[in-house]
Structures are given as structure tokens and as C-alpha cells.
Symmetry: C2
Subunit: 211 residues, 2 copies
Amino acid sequence: MTNSCAEKNLCKRDAKKEEKRAAIVAIAQQHFTEHGFGGTTMSAIAADLGGSKTTLWSYFSSKEDLFAAALDDWIDIFEPVRNIRYEGDLRETLVSYCCDFLNQMLTPQVETMFRLVIAEAKRFPELGQIFYEQAPLRRHKALSAFLQQEMDSGRLRQYDSVRMSSQLHHLCLYRLFMHSIWGLEPDTSPAQIRLEAENVVDLFLNGYAAA
Amino acid sequence: MTNSCAEKNLCKRDAKKEEKRAAIVAIAQQHFTEHGFGGTTMSAIAADLGGSKTTLWSYFSSKEDLFAAALDDWIDIFEPVRNIRYEGDLRETLVSYCCDFLNQMLTPQVETMFRLVIAEAKRFPELGQIFYEQAPLRRHKALSAFLQQEMDSGRLRQYDSVRMSSQLHHLCLYRLFMHSIWGLEPDTSPAQIRLEAENVVDLFLNGYAAA
DNA sequence: AGAAGATCGTACTGGAGAGTACGATGACCA
DNA sequence: TGGTCATCGTACTCTCCAGTACGATCTTCT
């Protein structure tokens, strides 16, 4: 009976610590995205937190630490890609998928995260790779599995499904995403997104639909 | 005879100043790309220059100033796109263009510049836009003019040439460039580039070649 | 030659921000 | 109830770096 907390596995203390940690990370995310790594100050985070610097450092032993934690937690915004399933019309299925994809990519959070990762990839060398594996790679796997399935069903020509998946994704990014990365302000109305998606899918199917 | 320099328009003094300025900018570019804006120190630049800080500040009154100058000068690495001209085979013409494009985009300088611009777009708001106008926009204009021409010659379907141009460019960027932005190391051998380019052009022409 | 200007080196100021020290207060646990 | 642990606030140190001051030297123009 050295530690009754361990038994319950839910000391009030530990719970509060978890909560606080989460609060810190949330505030840190906000600061990092708004000002980048260099522009963010620990003091400001502490102030925003309402707590003291001492507390902050008791959770994270350095700014880098906190940044890593913020990013790690953050990758969850790439929620599992909606399941793609053939629904009677391949074109419509793909268009709908592309719309979802575009909508997600054009989210301010995703945009900001891209910016941040790219900016700090030098300072945190593994960052790019982790990020790549979490986001685009997962997507590519999911989409290419779907495409393979469609090939097997005879609705698409047999081809390199991984390559096709990348191509479709990149076609989606065309224009809108690059603009938003460069601080321009593209039209992101649902109608415009739909238009982009249809355009992309048409080009794609022209190339890969079964004869 | 108030100033004989003005007449010759080539005082040794002025010439040297130009030279020095260029030297500073060159060194600054190197530092900014290697360490980003935040990671670059004026002192280090001065040291690398061999001169003193005083001199440095006599040319550029602040770090921001120097950064702007460095970038301004730098945009020239986007050398005028090779003229695209139909040469008897549309597919081959486009493949060759795409190879050139990819080779340019995968240059370390271009990659670094992208990184820098994206990273500092918040600090220097006009940066993104200037950059966009200098690089991708010029390209798009050139390529879409060519595509329009090809439509008029009947080798391509009539369509929105600007959109087509963006699509072709973005298809090229697929995989290779994104990888290099994320710090992965894609295969950039000529053979691989050629393969990518052919693949892209085939998809493109499937969609847009005249029937 | 002599004035004007550019460069140099070095030492300084001033500000910002990461991280620490420490004593006090309160929350939780046994 | 008494001990442990988290938190708090404040004030501090340390380091880094942009930008300045200044007197000495070297170059170029007239």
C-alpha cells in the first residue's frame, strides 16, 4: 500500500497535471502558429496561461520541448480520412472525396501547420519526416488502396495506384493551396471548391478510367 | 565641373561601392538560406565579409533592409523560362519542358528560397505576393500562352489555358518537390525526372489532346 | 598635396527573452 | 494533522544580438 493513487490510477493530482499540461500545449499551439517559433516567447505563454514561469518550466524543460509537444499533439487535426467507398458513381465518389480533401487542406489550422513545419524543418530535422508520415503518407495509402480496388473492379485501368493517388492529391492542391501558402486569398467558396474538384477528377478520369 | 564622376559615370569609388554591396548581398543570401531570418546574425555576416559592422550598417540600415535586398536580388535565379516552342512533337516538347521545370525546381537554391519565403511570409507580408508574381505567375503566363497557341493550331482541345498551365505545373511538382520541401530525399536522377515528366505529360494529354 | 569619403577594429549600449532562485501560499494525500 | 507537492509571483542572471560611437587608417578624387 505504498501508493493508493496507483491503484485508483486517478489521483486528483495527476488528473490536474494532465489538464494543466493540455492547457499549456493548447496555448503554445496558438502562440507558435501566430508568431512562429522565433516569434513566440515563453513569458507570453506563461502570461496567457495565467500561471507563473516556474510552473511552465516544470512541465517543459525548454522551448524546444514545448514546441515538440505542441506539434505532436497537433498532428491529430489530420483526422482519419473519411472512408472512401464506391457509391454507384466513380466520378461523384472522387469529386466528393476531393472536395473533402480540399476543404481540409484549406483550413487555417492546416495551412498554418504547413507553414510552421516548413519554416522550422531546419531547426528540427525529424519534423518534416514525422509530419510527412502522419499526413500525406496516410492519405496516399488510403486513396491508393481505394484506387486499387477500383482497378480490380474494372472501373479503372490497371496502373500504379500509388502514383495515381499522389497525382490526384496534387492536382487538388493546384492553385488554391499554393495561393494560401503564399498569403494570397483564393476563393474558397463551396461552389469554387466543387468546381476545382470536378475539374481535377475529369482530368484524372480521362487518363485513368477503363476504356 | 562640379563632379567629374557624374560625367564618366564610373568613379572608382562608386564602382567599388557597387561591388561591395553585391558582396554583402551574396554573403547575406548564404546566411539567410542556411539559418533563416531569425538564425542569421548581422555580426556573423560582417565577420564573413571580413569588414566591420560599421561598414555593413553604412550599406543597409537594418537587418530587414538587408533581407529585402538579398531577396530582391535573388529572385533572378528564376531565370527566364526557356522558350517553349512546338518542335514537331507536342508530347516531346512538353516532356522536355517539364524536365527543365523539374530540374529548376529541385535546385537547392530554389528549394531554400521557397522555404525562406514561406517561413517569413508572416514577418514580411508583401513577400509572398512579390514572390508569387516573380516566379509561378510568370511561368504560368508563358506556358498558358504556349498552350493557347497549340489550341489554335488544333493540337489541343479548346479549354481554359491558364487552368491547364497550373495543372501541368502542379502535376510536375507532385512527389519530388513536396518531398524535398519536407526534407526527404527524393530520387532526382535524370532518368527519374524524365520518368516523372513523361508520366505527367501523358496524363495531361489524355485529358487535353485534340480528339 | 590635401580634402573628402570609405573602411576598419574594438568596445560599448540597450533591449529582449530564456531560464533560475526562492520564499510564500495553497491543494492534496495518508 | 502534518507532510508533500504544485503553484505562484517576483526579481534575478546570463546570453545573444541589433545597432552605435569613435578614433585610426587607407583610398580616391581634384
